[in-house]
Symmetry: C2
Subunit: 481 residues, 2 copies
């Protein structure tokens, strides 16, 4: 079979046959990040088979319904890493049916390759083109290069619904193995140091499956009044900070977390006055808000591992891929999220959280300390290593719950990594503050006025005892449950 | 005045005069790390003056009694960063008299230089020699290069009690400013990329004070039976791991935390059988245990930022400094603890903790969640970025308290960063485990037998509810207080 997307004499087959060759207890490494670029046909064929499967599934980041709905509902996934964002997967993790463990995105490639996380069997990855010893990923790179390196058996889904021009976005670089690991030779976020192809040993390629199926991507809600108020506070804080610090003399390098709020905050930067500084994005996902900045000529370049766009955003990008690819680079997730690069570029990281406590610890993953939402994803990669780490979140959930709480019942980001907290009510700049000062700032500047008195009462009681971070352990978690 | 330690026509003066020039509300950046290499005479003169002082004191790491006892007891420190290890400083932090904030060691140089932490005024640093535009640090490098860069006024204490031969250990390299920050060009832990001198603008040098006073360094207790049992479990786990992972084909790069347990674990490695692999140390402190390994020819090289030796260890090193300096390098703390280097060298990090909870979160700093012990120091720099992160700790405190607890009331290291936990009872390898699996491993392998039943009861009750990390929030913190 010859085709511009399948070059050479490759083992083209159908999804059911490829699925049938996957051992029932295989460890499957799948492409996909930001809900795009994940394999569709083979997972679906696995879900629809009547075999008794007990798979371990490792993705790059979040993937689509074929994996985290269909395969989960078929009870075919025994073990799942490192992130999920669909209700059935979440439920299976929370009721203990599926052994789920989340992990920093930046660490996952190493984990899979030599970290003792799993014993990899088969990689199933989506591509826009494949040859005897190479493939070109589709809408995300994620950890596909590390996964392809780790397995003996590789199944490639070539998806005609993904434009071949996506190749123009990819910049594939593979970090060496420690202890001879060289620094990633990237001197600017928008620079290119590789090519579009992921290369592999041709003996690995066991099946090529043709598909024609769009991703089921994110949906972003329109910005709310609260989103806009948070954005205004963030903008004002950043405007002061870029004037203050020599790090931002010529440019500002930004990262935003995944989701509707992150998307709204990206978009809102269009109104920021950073003088004649270049605006550069160095994050893990490109969301619709960034396309607006690119179109307005306000963004110099953008680096990420996934085009995590809405369906409308995909249409917009696909229609003009060549132009967008001039300024947008997709990298492997162990490059996009690499601590060393986040440090070297002096990134300003803006991520959300479920809740923040009075001493600046943040919970991003576990509702009431017990129930997993999605996973830590790349939020800690950026929050820990950024030159300036900001958590931006609404002050309440619905009308009856504060997101500023006495003590978070699960910590994903410690006090040592959170520089500032922004809500619709204001900004608490926590840098250099002792814990008691931090608590007062968070109550006065960030908490919703309806909860300030209760929070202050908690503090008054806690401050009665000695302690660097005084707590009343009897009451500390009483805001949860 | 001419002297081989003071070269050129320098503003030599006495400590009282130098202290008198320090503004009463100055931000003082002091040398010192691992309780060695800190300035002595000027802090003491400040403590003994009858001025009403309200200083901000930023050290590299832990310092001696002149600062954290005398100055604190004189009520002269209003604000203190980032680490303290003496009772008076601890008490002042805990009762709120002194605004203390701890911070990752790796981040502190950047924080002080451009991170908005403080507005630096005067640096007071200890040296073994000084010239018009250079100084050679004494027993630690710490953040002295960054601090000297940050201030307008520099006071140097030249300490004759510190051998001039300490110069042979130092390798001073200064990271550039983001976003043009180059990777640190270090390709092996023992390599040298700088020289012994910290350079500065000669206009900064306001005073040189001569002293002759030993450090008041660490005291290590002899290894206990528990220490030896922990060491045996650690050795056995590491022996398997170096066989398993391709990272350790030729060498093993280790870091150990500060303290008597860390010191005992270092020493106990002498009995490990790592085949013909090179043993290399890449950490933040050189403790006595490493000298044993060096003397036995078992350690290829050691990189750190401080010679945190006991008085006997100092005598031993000072007597033979030239020989030890062949294999030992002291670096600035933003090099010794740099996340990028810990990653590139594939370090195995072994640190202690106060307690670990059933899902793998660790508390290293706050007794009962409230009372600060010392600070996070460099423990998270290594735990987060190591190829293999191990927490090693006794299973109990005294005879009536478990260090494996349902929920830690303060988190310094999250579940995402702890690969394995070692106690005198065994090893829990947490890699790839879901939280419920992790809990069972920690109870069965690491907890003291006297507490296993109570921990299991907690889990049984918690597992009654749904949740990825099921907790009974009413009881979660009941083991504390």
């Amino acid at each position: 079979m010859t085709d511009q997307r399948i070059e050479g004499d490759l083992p083209v087959t159908d999804a059911a046959s490829a699925a049938a060759d996957v051992p029932a207890d295989a460890t499957l490494l799948v492409s996909g990040f930001g809900s795009v670029g994940y394999p569709k046909a083979v997972p679906l064929a696995l879900a629809e088979s009547d075999r008794d499967l007990s798979l371990t599934v490792v993705s790059g980041g979040s993937v689509g319904a074929e994996i985290d709905v269909e395969l989960v509902e078929a009870d075919a996934i025994a073990r799942r890493y490192p992130y999920q964002a669909r209700a059935p997967a979440r439920e299976a993790a929370n009721d203990g049916r599926m052994a789920f463990a989340d992990r920093h995105i930046s660490a996952l490639g190493d984990d899979v390759q030599f970290g003792g996380l799993v014993d990899p069997d088969v990689a199933v990855v989506e591509a826009v083109a494949v040859g005897e010893d190479w493939l070109v990923p589709s809408g995300s790179v994620g950890h596909t290069p590390a996964y392809v390196d780790s397995v003996d058996s590789l199944v490639v889904e070539v998806n005609r619904a993904q434009p071949r021009s996506l190749a123009g976005f990819h910049d594939i670089y593979r970090p060496d193995l420690p202890p001879e690991r060289d620094p990633v030779p990237l001197s600017a976020p928008g620079e290119r140091i590789g090519g579009p192809r992921i290369e592999f040993d041709p003996a690995k390629l066991t099946a090529v499956v043709e598909t024609d199926c769009r991703d089921e991507p994110y949906e972003f809600r329109d910005p709310t009044e609260t989103d806009r108020a948070i954005a205004a506070n963030l903008r004002s804080f950043l405007t002061d900070e870029v004037e203050r610090s020599p790090l931002f003399a010529d440019s500002v390098r930004l990262q935003f977390g995944v989701g509707s709020l992150g998307n709204a905050l990206m978009g809102a930067l269009a109104d920021a006055d950073f003088g004649d500084r270049e605006l550069i994005y160095f994050g893990e996902v490109i969301q619709d808000g960034l396309l607006d900045l690119l179109d307005a000529g306000q963004l110099d370049s953008a680096s990420a591992t996934s085009l995590a766009l809405s369906a409308a955003g995909q249409d917009r990008l696909f229609a003009d891929a060549e132009r967008y690819a001039e300024d947008v680079v997709l990298r492997p997730a162990d490059v996009s999220n690499r601590p060393a690069l986040i440090d070297r570029f002096g990134v300003v990281a803006v991520n959300s959280a479920l809740e923040v406590d009075l001493y600046g610890h943040a919970n991003s993953t576990h509702v009431d300390g017990s129930r997993m939402l999605n996973g830590i994803g790349g939020s800690a990669d950026f929050t820990r290593n950024a030159a300036l780490s900001i958590l931006a979140l609404p002050s309440t959930v619905g009308s009856d719950r504060s997101r500023i709480v006495p003590m978070v019942p699960h910590v994903d980001h410690t006090e040592h990594d959170v520089d500032a907290v922004v809500t619709e009510h204001g900004v608490a700049d926590l840098r250099g503050t002792a814990p008691r000062e931090r608590a007062r700032l968070l109550v006065d500047r960030c908490a919703h006025p309806d909860y300030r008195e209760q929070l202050q009462e908690y503090l008054d009681r806690a401050f009665d005892s000695d302690g660097h971070e005084p707590h009343d352990l009897d009451a500390a978690l009483s805001w949860h449950e």
